[in-house]
């Protein structure tokens, strides 16, 4: 009798520890989704389009870091800024060459262009770097740390810390600098923004650059955990999109929370039900949100517009 009770108790503790473990790893992947989601939202708010090439910038972040590390033999601390800079340049070129020249910039045309752009970038990456999966070394060792029975890797902490930092910088930029406020003004009222002297087209360009920086950073910090390859952008991009939808396309906290919720649910689902359902969970959430609360989990239904 005693033995059974003991075993029962032990199993409960193990289950709790497991749940904690899944939550931790869910939070760190969720943070990645959040960063990508914010990238989606920033472009959406500035232009009204969903940039389906967003995931490719995530891929570029990881692959370029690898390129600078392995081919050019740069140290990690130098490879990362280089990779981010090249990704930003890619975002800039993408806007200049594919988005701006469009004669009839209807949202549907633009969305199709972004899909074409994503296929092109992915194809180029495959030609350049091949189809192999690569790993980036973790930023600071891979000695696991144990917290309340769950083990996490130093990279998890890096991911959470860098994400928090980026979110803080993002918030500061959009709420306390004149350029950030100008970008928000463009998203609220383009015509009025032009009339106060804001160059709306430049703001659109900025939004692409910022989004590609965020995307590539996400790709870089996650690469030591999940490996990287030319085609990681598709899934990560869609998950980020999902986070943005949960957050109602807000470029602030709502999308961050959306990403974290998605990451945790995914990780719990994979751990407790079956890891085969991992991706399905994200898309079921996406569909549910679109069916039931298309304004996002925290958004108010659209009522204004007088």
């Amino acid at each position: 009798m005693k033995v059974r009770e003991f075993l029962c108790k032990k199993r409960k503790i193990m289950q709790l520890e497991q749940i904690l473990q899944y939550t931790f790893s869910g939070l760190s992947t969720g943070a990645i989704y959040a960063l990508i989601g914010i990238g989606f939202s920033i472009i959406f708010n500035a232009t009204g389009i969903i940039n389906f090439a967003q995931g490719e910038f995530v891929m570029l972040g990881g692959m370029l870091t690898l390129f600078f590390l392995e081919v050019l033999k740069l140290p990690l601390w130098a490879a990362i800024p280089c990779a981010v800079a090249v990704s930003a340049l890619a975002g800039l070129l993408f806007e200049r060459l594919a988005i701006r020249p469009l004669r009839q910039p209807t949202p549907i045309n633009l969305v199709i262009i972004t899909i074409a752009g994503s296929i092109l970038i992915r194809g180029l990456a495959m030609l350049l770097w091949g189809k192999d999966t690569h790993a980036i070394p973790p930023f600071t060792g891979d000695e696991p740390i144990s917290i309340a029975g769950a083990t996490i890797l130093p990279q998890h902490i890096w991911i959470l810390a860098i994400t928090l930092l980026i979110i803080a910088v993002n918030k500061f930029f959009f709420f306390h600098t004149i350029s950030g406020k100008a970008m928000r003004a463009c998203s609220y009222n383009r015509r009025a923004a032009g009339l106060v002297g804001i160059d709306v087209r430049r703001m659109v360009l900025f939004s692409f650059v910022i989004s590609s920086v965020l995307g590539s950073l996400a790709g870089i910090i996650v690469a030591p955990l999940t490996m990287t390859a030319y085609d990681v952008g598709i899934m990560l991009g869609l998950k980020g999109f999902c986070a943005a939808i949960i957050g109602g396309m807000s470029s602030g906290m709502a999308t961050v929370v959306g990403g974290l919720i998605l990451g945790v649910l995914e990780s719990l689902g994979a751990g407790l039900i079956s890891s085969g359902y991992k991706d399905a969970i994200a898309f079921i959430i996406l569909l549910l949100i679109l069916f039931i609360r298309p304004q996002g989990l925290f958004g108010k239904a659209e009522s204004e517009r007088v």
């Binding site: 004149i178 406020k181 003004a185 015509r191 009025a192 002297g197």
Partner: protein, 247 residues
């Protein structure tokens, strides 16, 4: 100061302005009156570069500004207060005003000048000072109109274009706003081009006026002349035909 020469503007295939020519002198208040769809707003938007002219020329202080983008026009010193206020609703009053000075945020000295100008806007419209932290979208129509004017003033314009500032506002608020416009001309020497449905009030404030009909200027002259003109009276000042007959 501003001269439009044979301006033709099109919306796709619609010919919205036909050979419009007009001019504004330094420090003048000029009004455009006309029915809905006569092209008043289009004239302002053509000047501002929102709907650039398809033909003709816009000269500002003798320089051509016909095909410049809206933000470049603002740089020249022409600010528009658009129809329906168009304030940035989810931003605070202060942020809206700051954005009005967006082009001036280049140097440190400018920053203190911007602060001074904001203080001046607050003395013109004390109501905005009381609500400076409030979100623009939560204010009344009159307050939003004040904010829209204040925001345009933050760019330090030489020429202010106003599109229907009295629309949907209570008569007292309209009076307050028109008094401010007069004060701006008197104290800051701002030149004003005013588009109005409320022709009576507009002609009272303005020195001169142009009457627009279906994209053409059909009449122009000093305000007192237009006020006395039988045609203007009938069509825009709401006087009864009979009343004019009987005189």
């Amino acid at each position: 100061m501003l001269r439009l020469k044979n301006i033709n503007t099109y919306y796709g295939k619609v010919h919205a302005l036909r050979n419009v020519s007009l001019h504004l002198g330094e420090g003048e208040i000029v009004t455009l009156i006309g029915a809905n769809g006569a092209g008043k707003t289009t004239i302002l938007n053509t000047i501002s570069g929102v709907t650039p002219a398809g033909g003709g020329e816009v000269l500002f202080r003798k320089e051509p500004v016909t095909t410049l983008a809206p933000d470049r026009i603002v740089k020249y010193g022409i600010s528009q207060v658009p129809e329906g206020r168009q304030v940035f609703k989810p931003l605070s009053v202060e942020d809206n005003l700051e954005l009005g000075a967006y082009l001036r945020y280049k140097s440190r000295e400018e920053k203190s000048a911007i602060k001074r100008d904001m203080a001046q806007v607050f003395t013109l419209f004390p109501r905005l000072f009381e609500r400076r932290r409030q979100l623009a979208g939560t204010m009344s129509g009159g307050e939003q109109q004040m904010l829209a004017i204040g925001r345009a003033l933050m760019a330090n314009p030489k020429l202010l274009l106003l599109d229907e500032p009295s629309m949907g506002l209570a008569p007292l608020v309209v009076q307050e706003i028109f008094r401010v416009l007069e004060r701006l001309r008197r104290e800051n020497g701002v030149t004003i081009l005013l588009v109005e449905q409320n022709a009576k009030a507009a002609l009272k404030l303005a020195d001169r006026g142009y009457v627009l009909e279906t994209g053409k200027i059909i009449m122009e002259g000093p305000s007192f002349e237009l006020t006395e003109n039988a045609e203007v009276k009938r069509a825009y000042l709401g006087k009864d035909k009979k009343e004019i007959w009987e005189r």
